[in-house]
């Protein structure tokens, strides 16, 4: 205990964000979401509920899909994090972005970055998902605009196109 800095003091946290090594000085319990948005200016990660229900703040941490509002930044020390901004070069990304646009998968857009990250995560595990896989894969990401149908269609379409490539 005594070896750790006081909880109220700032810690230096090092991690890799979108392929770049980053160091930030933050309270250990600061939410990863706030560090990404405020300290690193990565505002593509959104806050919807602040309690891990809506998935708008989804990021990939060590390849896992996590709600960054539930991750204390201290826990992210030494990890590799990918946000929507870091996905630009990802092979799946363009397919998903285009299919989201074409199929109507993005309306107000606030859930979209998280939704697309969840879709990437799903398609990496299951390249040819059935509709039930898509429903389950996106179950942690809430969308209030679309009723999800056009999102399902967008994910299915991107998967088909990738297989065809």
């Amino acid at each position: 205990m005594s070896l750790l800095p006081a909880a109220s003091a700032k810690w230096e946290v090092s991690f890799t964000v979108n392929g770049h090594a980053k160091k930030v000085l933050a309270h250990p319990m600061e939410r990863l979401l706030d560090v990404l948005r405020n300290d690193l200016g990565l505002t593509g990660t959104k806050e919807g509920c602040g309690e891990g229900e809506c998935g708008s703040c989804s990021v990939l941490l060590e390849g896992m899909l996590v709600n960054s509002c539930l991750v204390p930044v201290a826990q992210a020390d030494g990890t590799s994090i990918v946000t929507i901004e870091g996905m630009a070069a990802h092979a799946l990304m363009k397919l998903l972005q285009e299919s989201f646009l074409e199929c109507g998968g993005a309306q107000c857009g606030i859930c979209t970055p998280g939704m697309i990250l969840a879709a990437v995560h799903l398609l990496e595990k299951k390249p040819q998902p059935a509709l039930t896989d898509i429903r389950e894969g996106l179950a942690g990401n809430l969308c209030r605009c679309t009723g999800y149908m056009q999102i399902f269609e967008a994910v299915a379409k991107a998967a088909r196109q990738r297989v065809a490539q």
Partner: protein, 755 residues
């Protein structure tokens, strides 16, 4: 000119790329130099006098900016209709969560701690929390009788018909509050300087509503208030009126601190403090002939407006006009009122009163069918409005419409007849009961009655020397597709590629007042004005001989270049003109309520599981006639999203009230549908054409909120035989009604056959 088919085509969403890359800028993504964060100190009691405010120990209060009602330079109200809602409570509070003080600090964590240690002492005053309590006037909390507004619609002689009726069918129906639950919480940033006045950037639907409210609050002329809409992460009506409040708060803090102030609600604050759908109670008493024709009836519709008048009168108006559904009433008396309770004011939410009164109407229709002894399909067929007949407000239907045909097609698409029979046979054994239900309904597009005339909307279109066209409207994009559809209309009008047309960010220093982005009015009313304004550009360029009647986009570009070189700029404006044949009497509530109605028939198929008491919607068919479909993917998306939200309204979303305060103000315990909860939503359109909107488009945004709840509850009754009359219908409600010892008493109801 080449033939363009931009309208009706699935062009890419204008701001779509920014949204799928995470680059779109919402208010919380914006940072201004020296910016403080703002927070609100709110009432913890439902009604009382503020006796003492204590600033607790352990906080360096000199670091904080504190604003109270005394700091307001203008009128302490949120200017809207009646101006009865204070911006900050000064002496009394009328609902829990009412704003009393504002704090600002550079550090959001310190801000939160400070809010926690401010304690306010109240002298409690008697409060009312339900419709019934308000009507019984156990305490008078607003005006002289707790009534914000009442309407009376009368057609024919209702009193004379009860004797000749073969059946008199009575029913009482309830709908609960519903949270809009846009995924982006409400938020604003404000800046103030003595010279330029107030500027706010925010998540909002109606830039000129905020503009009007800030002018009153700060006693500033219109040129000293600037409102800019940022990308808005969902609204559904929930960012119609409340953003004026948050803008006022952020701006007051900015004025006092001399620094920009950001005020972003977190989810709990947003859910507890901002508006929700009005809870309602509807009573029907319908006189019906032996063969199932409605002879007439009485409808009483009451909504709970919360503590201040805000938009309740307008919500009530729409609920009133839609209360009779898409049916022909030879005579009817509709009495309605909006009453006050000590809860945060209820407000705009997709459908705006219509989902409430139509839920009652569509449940009542199924009830009438049972009493008469005919099917839910047949009762509707026998009573559908037809062209040439008049609505409850005596509006003669002059547009093309054919509800019979819509119904037949919806039944076919849902395989209704086969399923209905099959379920009746297969349901007998086992705990899983299947049912199928229908709802037929209408939704008026645009403001009610004389509303569009008062709005007097103005729309602009301008060009630059590169031949790029820009649409200038205060109509906001918040997911529905405003940007895309209005650009399509302008491109089509000018015969230009869609890519050559853009839309200005709504900023009151740049765009004229094209009215609020509400009431399913944007595509129809504003779209038509965009079309006229775009045509105005073309006319100017042809009149000045810079452009021939037929031209390529290259020639258009050359003409623009030449015109701009000679004149500097070209802007074309179009102002709303009421159709000449529209008559509306505000006193008698009679006449042409809406320039056009959208019509729909929805069919829901459900499974009720008597082990878990859950209802699952297995299939959903949504068939509508909305005039011309301007963009097939966006239109389908509007309907799917509306149906999903309405499934939540029917089966999942329950606001739990404790002394006028929402106690489940979190996404963990207020449940909206996830990707696992929704059936396939199958969307179909009929296009019959309509004269009023651009290319014959009518409103679409709100319609899909109206029909799903009654269709689903009708299906639940079909499955269980139990007459549910209240939504949301959660498993615990089903359990109460369906467990053996309570079943029978629930089925008996206030229905009297007088055959």
């Amino acid at each position: 000119m080449t033939v363009h088919h931009i309208v009706g085509a699935a062009v890419p969403r204008k701001e779509g790329w920014d949204k799928v890359t995470g680059a779109a800028r919402y208010v919380d993504d914006m940072i201004l130099p020296g910016m403080l964060h703002g927070a609100t100190v709110r009432s913890t009691v439902a009604r009382g006098k503020i006796k003492k405010i204590k600033f607790g120990a352990g906080i360096a209060w000199n670091e904080y900016v504190v604003v109270s009602a005394k700091d307001i330079p203008g009128k302490n109200c949120i200017a809207l209709i009646l101006d009865d809602q204070p911006c900050l409570a000064a002496e009394t509070v009328n609902h829990a969560e009412e704003p009393i003080l504002l704090l600002a600090h550079t550090d959001r964590h310190k801000l939160r701690k400070a809010v926690e240690v401010i304690s306010i002492e109240y002298e409690a005053l008697p409060s009312v929390h339900t419709l019934d309590e308000s009507e019984q006037r156990s305490a008078i909390i607003w005006g002289t009788d707790n009534t914000f507004k009442s309407f009376l619609v009368e057609k024919g002689d209702v009193d004379a018909l009860w004797k000749e009726a073969a059946h008199i069918v009575e029913g009482e129906y309830f709908t609960g509050a519903q949270e809009q639950l846009y995924i982006e919480n409400n938020g604003m940033i404000a800046a103030f300087d003595p010279e330029n006045g107030v500027t706010v950037w925010g998540s909002l639907q109606c830039p000129y509503y905020v503009h009007k409210a800030l002018m009153a609050l700060f006693a500033l002329p219109e040129e000293k208030v600037r409102v800019v809409q940022m990308e808005t992460g969902g609204a559904f009506g929930g960012k119609e009126e409340y953003p004026s409040m948050i803008a006022g708060h952020a701006a007051l803090l900015a004025m006092k601190s001399g620094r920009p102030v950001k005020m972003i609600y977190d989810r709990m604050e947003d859910m507890a403090a901002t508006t929700k759908r009005h809870p309602s109670r509807t009573r029907h008493r319908t006189a019906v002939s032996k063969d199932g024709k409605i002879l007439g009836g009485e409808i009483e519709f009451v909504i709970d407006g919360g503590a201040y008048a805000t938009l309740s009168s307008v919500v009530l108006s729409r609920g009133t006009i839609h209360a009779g559904g898409p049916y022909y009433w030879p005579s009817v008396r509709i009495r309605t009122k909006a009453v006050a309770t000590n809860t945060p004011p209820h407000g705009a939410f997709r459908g705006f009163g219509a989902p409430q009164s139509l839920f009652a109407m569509e449940r009542q229709m199924d009830r009438i069918a049972q009493v008469v002894g005919i099917s839910p399909v047949e009762i509707r067929r026998r009573n559908f409005l037809k062209p040439g007949q008049s609505t409850t407000t005596q509006q003669v239907i002059r547009e093309k419409m054919d509800l019979d045909r819509l119904l037949s097609r919806a039944l076919e698409l849902s395989d209704y007849a086969v399923k209905k029979k099959r379920f009746a046979v297969e349901n007998k054994p086992g705990p899983r009961k299947k049912g199928i239900g229908i709802a037929s309904f209408l939704h008026g597009a645009g403001f009610t009655g004389s509303g569009e005339r008062y709005l007097n909307s103005l729309v602009g279109v301008d060009i630059n020397a590169e031949g790029n066209v820009r649409v200038l409207v205060s109509s906001a994009e918040f997911g529905q597709g405003t940007n895309t559809v209005l650009c399509q209309i302008a491109a089509e009008a000018l015969g230009l590629p869609y890519e050559n047309v853009s839309i200005a960010q709504p900023d009151t220093t740049v765009v004229p007042n094209s009215g609020p982005t509400v009431a399913s009015r944007t595509a129809m009313i504003v779209g038509k004005l965009v079309q006229s304004a775009a045509k105005g550009i073309q006319e100017t360029l042809t009149r000045t001989k810079l452009l021939r009647d037929e031209y390529t986009s290259e020639e258009f570009r050359a003409a623009c270049k030449e015109y701009i070189a000679a004149h500097g700029a070209l802007k074309s404006y179009a102002r709303y003109e009421a159709p000449p044949d529209v008559f509306w009497d505000d006193e008698k509530y009679r006449g042409e309520a809406y320039a056009a109605f959208a019509w729909a028939v929805y069919v829901a198929e459900v499974t009720v599981d008597l082990t878990t008491y859950s209802v699952t919607v297995d299939d959903f068919v949504a068939l509508q006639e909305v005039g011309k479909v301007l963009h097939p993917v966006l239109a389908e998306g509007q309907v799917m999203g509306g149906v999903a939200q309405a499934i939540g309204f029917a089966l999942y979303e329950k606001v739990v009230w404790q002394n006028g305060r929402m106690s489940n103000n979190q996404m963990t315990n207020y449940i909206m549908p996830t990707s696992m909860d929704l059936p396939p939503i199958r969307v179909f359109f009929e296009e019959l054409g309509n004269v009023h909107g651009a290319h014959g488009a009518k409103g679409i945004g709100e319609l899909p909120m109206d029909g799903p709840a009654p269709a689903i509850i009708n299906a639940v009754e079909d499955a269980t035989g139990v007459r549910f009359s209240s939504i949301p219908l959660l498993p615990e409600d089903l359990f109460e009604a369906l467990r053996p010892e309570s079943g029978e008493q629930f089925v008996s109801a206030s229905v009297r056959g007088t055959a």
